[in-house]
């Protein structure tokens, strides 16, 4: 069979600099899925934009051919005139993008933006286009297509927006669909559903798909062919099964080693014995009043946390897992005293000497002591370091604030911290922009450690990083925990990351803890439908363990669609039952 698209010898560069993509070649067969896999900077995004010729202004195609064979013969997309290229875009090759939040115009209705794609390429009336759009909406799983048609993007959740993007791409029945990390910005259960949808549509329409991703788990679920990229070069290419089961190239093997995964089957473990707690969160609730931006709107209440009880034992890691909006970050902020809980809740911190500090009723001296002992590592290492402060200033600043040591001692401490996180002493005098994402996250960790804390709150510390870097940071965090006797409160949306680092996991949904257990117990015997959905939705880089969409569908819906035993509404909810020692589930007895 002749491939529908072949890319030959493609080289792309910016200005006169070294090419960022060199000699890339691959072929896409009719109805198949080709995965372009690589970390940030591998050139995968640039390649798929080149196919549509929507490159940034400064980028130049230095050499190569992109041959599209289809309805009307063979065309070289690199040499096609801009005018004719416009007929290819959206009609023969459609694209969906990474961020559904920002890839739709905020000021135009969804319906308007979708039918536009059809009307640009087909001589259809508005009514016909609307009909087609409504049918497509129904197909991509909108419960109420008419409503979606009239809605604005900001009125929809991320998953729904991505469905709208898919509808927009598929309405012209293109021969090729390019999906650029279409699920990276989505929650894991939503990701599973969107991946399932793309597969179904592909089977129905016979569209060929180029799937760009950094996630080997997603590759295992989607791809027929795999192309592994590193620094603009193809490292390895071949059928998915071959590449995934027996990666030949060293780089691919490295990617596999780094990919976190949930252990396939694990034995339950006995609950830890009597506890020395460093942090206790007692029946903490948080209600936000959301006011319209002016007095002419009534206010609504948002329950970010509802009756959360959590305990962090000294020297252990408690992980809170949940999708966006589950209340996990609010819980962490309350634990650090950045926010006050509703009356009735309390957070107690116990330092190594056993002194109790009530985090939300601290005296001035208690506050200073608490700030020294509890520190935070943030999600985005790019925005959590001031670009105008040298590393040494960022690292010594906490010491200055707490008036610890003299100038020399502070410097010494900063250098020591750098060594601890695996960076070199010479880097003290550089600015953050000189560091990569992973190095910056090491800096953030070093900064959090300078005050010699006992508790570290990590808010998704690895989710902005590449897989191989993520692996290094997790190792570092484990290593530091064991060496310095730290305790972690670890916030994440990623079960696989948590599986590795946590001693206990609390799964949150809608402001409530729905299940809580040590990770091995949790993965061996998840009881709650939502936990099961989370585990099932996690893409695993094993081609023989595809995502079970049924399990995902059962637990990912709203809490009032769960089985009778677990169901809860806005007001009434079941309590947290201890099924076996150390394993708690929110259900009716």
């Amino acid at each position: 069979m002749t491939p529908i698209l072949s890319v030959d010898d493609l080289t792309i560069g910016f200005g006169g600099a070294e090419p960022v993509v060199s000699d890339v070649a691959f072929e896409l067969a009719q109805g198949q899925t080709l995965a372009l896999v690589g970390e940030s900077g591998s050139g995968k995004t640039l390649i798929c934009r080149t196919v549509l010729r929507i490159l940034p202004k400064a980028a130049r195609i230095r050499s190569g051919r992109i041959l599209l064979r289809g309805r009307d013969g063979e065309t070289d997309l690199v040499r096609l005139s801009e005018r004719r290229m416009r007929d290819v875009r959206g009609d023969r090759i459609a694209m969906i993008f990474q961020e559904p939040m920002r890839s739709l115009s905020p000021l135009h209705r969804i319906g308007n933006q979708v039918i536009e794609a059809l009307r640009l390429h087909r001589p259809v009336s508005k009514a016909q286009a609307t009909d087609a759009a409504l049918r497509t909406f129904e197909r991509v799983g909108f419960p109420d297509p008419e409503r979606a048609f009239r809605a604005y993007p900001f009125e929809m959740s991320g998953g729904m927006r991505q469905r709208a993007m898919i509808a927009m791409a598929m309405i012209t029945k293109p021969e090729i669909l390019i999906a650029d990390e279409p699920t990276t910005a989505l929650d894991v259960t939503t990701q599973a559903q969107v991946l399932g949808l793309i597969k179904e549509l592909q089977a129905e329409t016979g569209t060929a798909v180029i799937f760009v991703t950094h996630d080997l788990g997603v590759v295992a679920n989607m791809a027929d062919q795999v192309v592994v990229l590193n620094r603009g070069r193809v490292m390895e290419a071949g059928p998915a099964r071959a590449v995934l089961t027996a990666p030949a190239h060293g780089y691919t093997q490295k990617l596999f080693a780094a990919a976190p995964s949930i252990p396939a089957a694990a034995a339950p473990v006995a609950p830890p014995p009597g506890r020395d707690l460093i942090l206790e969160i007692r029946s903490v609730s948080k209600t936000y009043r959301v006011r319209g931006n002016a007095g002419w709107r009534s206010e609504t209440l948002v329950h970010a946390c509802r009756g959360v009880d959590l305990e962090v034992p000294r020297g252990k890691t408690l992980a809170i897992v949940g999708e966006s909006g589950s209340g996990k970050t609010t819980a962490a902020r309350i634990a650090l005293g950045a926010e006050k809980p509703d009356p009735g809740g309390a957070v107690i911190f116990r330092d190594a000497k056993g002194t109790e500090i009530p985090v939300h009723a601290m005296s001035r001296s208690e506050r200073t002591a608490f700030q020294r002992k509890a520190q935070m590592v943030f999600q985005d290492p790019y925005s959590s370091l001031s670009p105008r402060m040298r590393v040494i200033d960022a690292l010594t600043e906490p010491l200055e604030i707490h008036e610890i040591g003299d100038r020399e001692a502070r410097r010494e401490r900063a250098a020591e911290m750098l060594a601890m996180v695996g960076l070199k002493r010479e880097m003290l005098f550089r600015y953050p922009h000189a560091f990569s994402g992973g190095q910056r996250q090491r800096l953030s960790i070093a900064r959090a450690l300078t005050l010699d804390p006992e508790l570290l709150v990590c808010d998704e510390p690895t989710s902005a990083l590449d897989v191989s870097v993520q692996e290094q940071i997790l190792s570092l965090l484990e290593d530091i925990r064991d060496r310095a006797g730290l305790s972690y409160l670890f916030i994440s949306h990623d079960l696989a990351v948590v599986a590795r680092i946590a001693d206990e996991v609390a799964v949150m949904r809608g402001g409530l803890v729905v299940e809580q257990a040590p990770p091995r117990t949790l993965f061996h015997d998840p009881r709650h439908p939502y936990t099961r959905a989370l585990i099932a939705a996690q893409p695993v880089p094993d081609i023989d363990r595809p995502i079970d969409l049924n399990l995902v569908a059962q637990g990912a819906g709203a809490p009032d669609t769960w089985p009778e035993m677990f169901r809860f509404g806005q007001d009434a909810m079941p309590g947290l039952m201890e099924l076996e020692p150390g394993h708690k589930v929110r259900c009716h007895a």
Binding site: L52, I54, R86, D87, V88, R89, G90, D91, A94, M95, F97, Q98, E99, R102, S103, L104, S105, P106, L107, H108, R109, E116, A117, L120, H121, A151, Y152, F154, E155, M156, M165, M168, V290, G292, N293, A294, G295, W296, R297, T300
Partner: protein, 342 residues
């Protein structure tokens, strides 16, 4: 429905603001010691003209200048009865100008509408010039189109308005036969509106509009260009390109639509800047707007005239912001539907 509720809400806040502004204006105007009449009385006393002193004393009582300040304010605004019952701004009595010895309404009557006209023309000019140039400069950023429009724009910003006025008058008159000074042919002054008078006003408007509007247009153009450039790098623009839209259609449908919001929001800022900016220009160009009247009134502590002019400017500003707020609400569904049940 939401729009209507919002408009009513905005109208209400506007009235409250206007009320607070009126207090501020009154207090500020009365900050310098003395007033027009007491200055005059002192002068008359020293020259021994007792008859005139009596008349001035009468005026003082008539306009309650002998009352404490807070009572003066209440009487002026029309919240409390003066010597002749309720007669203040609320009742449509704008007070007496001592300098011109006429009721304020007579002095500013015609000038009010000419002021509105001149500034409206300038605002329209600003938008007509800035919109296409700003979009063009953004779409062709870093090419000669962009640089030329930026150069012309900066020239417009940097040239003092009165200088620009003189230059334009000279060349306009010399090569195009445009009239110099004033807002209409002197023959039409005080005449009822007619087609000829209208034509004369429009001809006279050309140069003032240009002079008052240039710097605003230049600033606005640069702002629009910056907004457009921001929007052009957003992913939804890429989506539109990937759909196969032509560049011009894509530009006007998506980024311009978003960049338009700050553009609209600027109406509120533009009006007061223009009104106050045009005071000096009006003096130089001899326009019969309220600008020259305001200048004269402030110099001679002619308090009712000054207060009225300032109130009028405040009202224009508030109306401007209100219009832009309501327009924004109409244009931007994010504001309109925020918090709508999904």
């Amino acid at each position: 429905m939401t729009i209507l509720r919002y408009a009513i809400y905005r109208l209400f806040t506007m009235l409250v603001t206007l009320w607070i502004v009126s207090i501020l204006i009154f207090v500020i105007i009365n900050l310098p010691p003395g007033d027009y009449l007491s200055n005059q009385i002192a002068e008359l006393r020293s020259t021994g003209q007792t008859a005139a002193v009596d008349q001035a004393e009468f005026l003082r009582r008539e306009y309650s200048l002998d009352q404490p300040l807070w009572r003066q304010y209440l009487i002026w605004a029309g919240f409390a009865p003066g010597p002749n019952g309720f007669s203040g701004l609320l009742q449509g009595d704008f007070g007496w100008s001592f300098e011109f010895d006429k009721p304020v309404s007579e002095i500013v009557g015609g000038a009010l509408w000419l002021t509105v006209l001149v500034n409206l023309a300038a605002v329209i000019f600003v938008y007509l010039v800035a919109l296409p140039l700003g979009v063009l400069a953004a779409a062709r950023s870093r090419t000669w189109v962009d640089y030329t429009s930026a150069f012309v724009g900066y020239l417009g910003l940097a040239t003092p308005n009165f200088l620009l006025a003189l230059i334009l008058f000279y060349y306009g008159n010399r090569y195009l036969g445009l009239p110099i000074g004033g807002l209409m042919d002197p023959a039409f002054e005080g005449q009822p509106m007619s087609f000829e008078k209208m034509k004369s006003i429009l001809l006279h408007l050309i140069v003032p509009t240009f002079v008052i509007g240039t710097s605003g247009a230049a600033a606005m153009m640069q702002r629009l260009r910056a907004n457009m450039l921001d929007e052009l790098s957003k992913p939804y623009v890429e989506t539109a390109r990937a759909k196969g839209m032509s560049p011009s259609r894509m530009l006007t449908k998506y980024p311009l639509r978003v960049a338009f919001n700050p553009f609209v929001a600027d109406i509120g800022n533009l009006l007061p800047a223009m009104v106050s900016g045009s005071v000096l220009v009006s003096v130089v160009l001899g326009l019969q707007t309220i600008g020259p009247a305001l200048l004269a009134a402030l110099k001679s502590q002619d308090q009712f005239l000054a207060a009225f002019v300032l109130m009028f400017v405040a009202l224009l500003t508030l109306i401007g912001t209100m219009i832009s707020d309501v327009l924004l609400m109409l244009l931007d569904p994010r504001i309109r539907y925020e918090g709508r049940e999904t």
